[in-house]
Symmetry: C3
Subunit: 418 residues, 3 copies
């Protein structure tokens, strides 16, 4: 570590006092998402009672209903992870962290909505590192003048993100270059794009597996905000503690049975509502006047990550910057290195192979986000203007996707040369 | 601050001795620009005496005449700022810092020369961070082996520049992507480009306003090269002191009346000469064999920034790196986040709305400049080779713009699809 | 230096013990390349005995035969450099470091294979910073938990690489933009591309010369891994020491005569075998089903750099990270700033002027490599996952070039507009 264990590391000295007794402030950010569960039965009624048949309403209600369900999935995963010990628990956390998004994307994939799936991958990456991290830095920065974090851990994640960005650019570069050559001379064909994408997905997946070995096994202490604990575990404990404070009772871990039961139940409901949501996308987005890419990049991505959003912001306000950044950047990383390859592999099961070719605006959005987050994370400290800068970039990209018509990579100027 | 208050911060220890008694060296860089004022009456004669009608001569003479006038505007602004107190003074400095460029651009805008305006925005951004900073690092590095600066302040500015670069890429990305879709299906139209540009300009303008709040209000001390002074104020004092040394009398701030009078007078002359300059651009550039984009990117940008150029270099030779970098990077920042949006807003008043779509070479030039300056600034120290590397990038970009024919974004391959 | 002379700088404290008495481990990496010299006579037989006429076999055998010859050229250069003193010796090392690649490229150029030449420039740049550095970080990281290096020296080199990347992007940007304009209005022509490339090559060459002045003259101590020695010299000594250990006798520098003789002899053989290799490329790559660009980017680049590869990895395992990085990054730098311009200048002698326009995939590969290496080098320390990340990027780019058909920049969509 270059910063030699700075004493104010993560602000353990300054944080407790202001945060322990500031209920007025904290209530602002309290993740009181549970009352949103009322939208689950509403969604079921809208879907199955013919009198209420309204795809737009179903879409909106399903979007809202998924938010608290994803939160329960996350909590159950963390409680289960505590019982499974550090190694397996960390793996569980890392694998199920984006389960809600994965489920929504799988349903979209089964309906052949590959444009929405790719857009939601893009949106999850930029949403986590611009919107979540931006709001965390801003909220934390309004309370604390300056917040510090472990820049070595942030750096390893940022580099992995750069690797992901490069991998996600390549299929577009291939298409653009190979389309200049006639097919007879080896030019672009959908099969080659597919083969290229599959090979890249394998590299990403292996890199993800080895990154887990690095962060959970060989260099675990780098990611430990405090001695002997990894970020995922501390995040779980911290969130449980916050939850306990809210409900007015002490911290009590769930039993294995309760955790597993809640996980299965919440996952089942997420799957059900995701099916509603995806089924209603097409008619809803038309009546709302939104493009497929805007729905994927902005709407679906925000819904699927809402639970992480509130956790990361809450932790930033408590000056637990390492965990906050770990959630935001780690989630982006997992989407790019784990969820994207898994979706590509899964697309073969549905008989509709998806490639990894993103549109140019999507590629630019991902690259731009990663460059600016790398820059902001490299100094190991944050303040409110850095949060605002991240949010400004998010706003600029949201404007782009709002104005952008649906572009299908296979259409237009990039068709194979004859 | 990550660098734990390095004692040699800005080299206050090493600088005084060599610089206090080295008049031979300093005379090299002395900003003896005032004699250039003789070109002001020459420009007026060339413009109004029919016998001397020669657009090329008028263009060249006007270019030269603006340099000392811009210098006087800057000095008057600084003296006025001293009377107005830190907050308002800083705001004045930040707002009027690029007034000469703004005036030239407004005249060009009123004549519909949007290509020149955009090229001069590009040129000011890359000119300040490559040419000015490069010459500063080189000149300072020839005198001092190694110069240090506050890398946190440099980092905040570099991040803001990255944000600006992303914002200026987006309209081109939008055009390229949306042009693949037929207009009937939501494809590219000039109106959409305009709407997108306007929305982005609003985001940039708001970000600039909040960045001023950050640097002038909440985190003022970050930008203070010495305790309790902001960079703008210290820059003013330092420059006044240098000026006083040259003229052989003590440091004496101007009265409010004198400062305001000089400001009004210099601004009026800048406006007059700008009108000459812009009026002569078209015929002059043809007879000189230069393209519109080369005139905008290289010529107009160098003229408009000449005063900052000499100040920044002078300060680097005196080892006041924080102020030198503050001028160069701050000026780029202001062009991108303040001048560009203001010009877009103003273009509506002229009835010829300008968008923010830059050509690909302009976008590449801005992005490349920002990436290399970010890299060079991130270690908090400079030497002569870093200055030379910045100048090499400037040379490469100047070569590009010299060879490049005038490309109009709306023409060529990027027209809307049918 | 920002990192305040860390005591474990380059691990001089921890390295000696484990490496001095670990023959089992070291034997793994022993550069026993000399037995490959047996392929030299085999290549000669394949080339000149009509009965064995087989271009594919000749290509493969020549590739292998060049590896040990390049190693002998390198060793002779180092021994000669020791006799010539620091300044001239450093210059010799810096100039002849990539002599084998230069010779292969000159032969390819003389046959008009400019596509292969450009591809091998790309491949050498990305091969050195992704493959060599990646393997070094991985091999070093498997032995040492964490390795440190001088991040200031690494930063100067990374910045020079960024400059090179910008310079190599510009000719493609020029082509794309100028091709939109009719030739009559100043649009793209091969002559303009040539003029632009020549001007850029001159800037790169001058920058390289001044970078040598910086690293060998004015700021030599920055690059000294230990007091008073430059990296090239220490690399030479370290490698000689390793060699001596292998052969069981003490370190004994060669005489000037022996060094010069070996240099001339090895160079002559490299030239001979390069001629075979280049002559066989066309028929060999067809029978192997490889594209011109894959052969250039992956095959020729790995062959030409094999000697550096083994040295850099060996040094990383001995925890001499500064020298290891110096070899890998320095070699990339030299290819971009020295070899590429020299090849362009030389192409005029062959009457077939080459320009510096690379294909988009080549440009993306170089830019991506430089961005990720910059990021990984900026913290001044390495571990195995960073090595793996570099190798993953290399794998992704190798996949791209494997799938990519041969794209000729002058063909396809980028022809001049009419």
């Amino acid at each position: 570590m270059t910063s030699p264990t700075t004493p104010s590391d993560s602000g353990h000295t300054s944080a407790p006092a202001p945060e322990g007794h500031a209920p007025r402030r904290r209530s602002w950010f309290k993740p009181r998402l549970d009352w949103l569960l009322v939208f689950v039965p509403i969604a079921i009624v809208l879907r199955f009672v013919p009198a209420f048949d309204n795809p737009t309403a179903l879409f909106v209600v399903s979007c809202i209903a998924i938010i608290p369900l994803a939160g329960w999935m996350g909590r159950a995963t963390e409680h289960l992870a505590e019982h499974l010990g550090q190694g397996v628990g960390g793996l569980l956390n890392a694998t199920f962290g984006n389960a809600a998004e994965l489920i929504i994307a799988l349903f979209a994939l089964s309906k052949g909505l590959t444009g929405v799936v790719k857009a939601s991958i893009t949106g999850s990456i930029i949403g986590n590192i611009l919107l979540v991290l931006g709001l965390s830095f801003l909220a934390g920065g309004l309370k604390f003048r300056r917040q510090e974090f472990n820049r070595v851990a942030a750096g390893v994640s940022a580099t992995a993100l750069t690797l992901a960005a490069i991998a996600l650019i390549i299929p577009s570069v291939f298409h653009q270059a190979a389309a200049l050559v006639p097919v007879a001379a080896g030019g672009w064909t959908p099969e080659k794009e597919q083969g290229l994408s599959l090979a890249i997905a394998v590299v990403l997946f292996l890199t993800y597996a080895l990154t887990l070995v690095f962060s959970l096994v060989t260099h675990r202490e780098l990611f430990g905000a405090e001695d002997g604990k990894d970020v995922a575990r501390e995040a779980g404990e911290e969130l449980t503690r916050m939850e306990a404070e809210q409900h007015g009772h002490g911290h009590k871990p769930w039993s294995v049975g309760k955790a597993a039961g809640v996980l299965v139940g919440a996952t089942a409901f997420v799957a059900l509502i995701s099916e509603f949501l995806v089924g209603a996308i097409e008619s809803a987005r038309e009546s709302l006047g939104l493009t497929e890419v805007f729905v994927g990049v902005i709407v679906v991505a925000i819904i699927g990550n809402a639970a992480e959003h509130s956790s990361a912001i809450l932790l930033a306000v408590r000056n637990k910057m390492d965990i906050s950044i770990g959630i935001a950047v780690g989630s982006s990383l997992q989407i790019a290195l784990f969820v994207a390859p898994v979706l590509l592999f899964a697309s073969y099961l549905f008989g509709q192979p998806m490639n990894l070719e993103f549109t140019i605006p999507e590629v630019v959005a991902v690259v731009a986000s990663i460059i600016i987050v790398e820059q902001i994370a490299s100094d190991g400290e944050s303040n409110w203007i850095e949060g605002l800068q991240l949010l400004s970039v998010y706003a600029v990209l949201a404007i782009l996707f709002y104005f952008l018509p649906d572009v299908h990579p296979a259409a237009g100027a990039h068709t194979p040369a004859h």
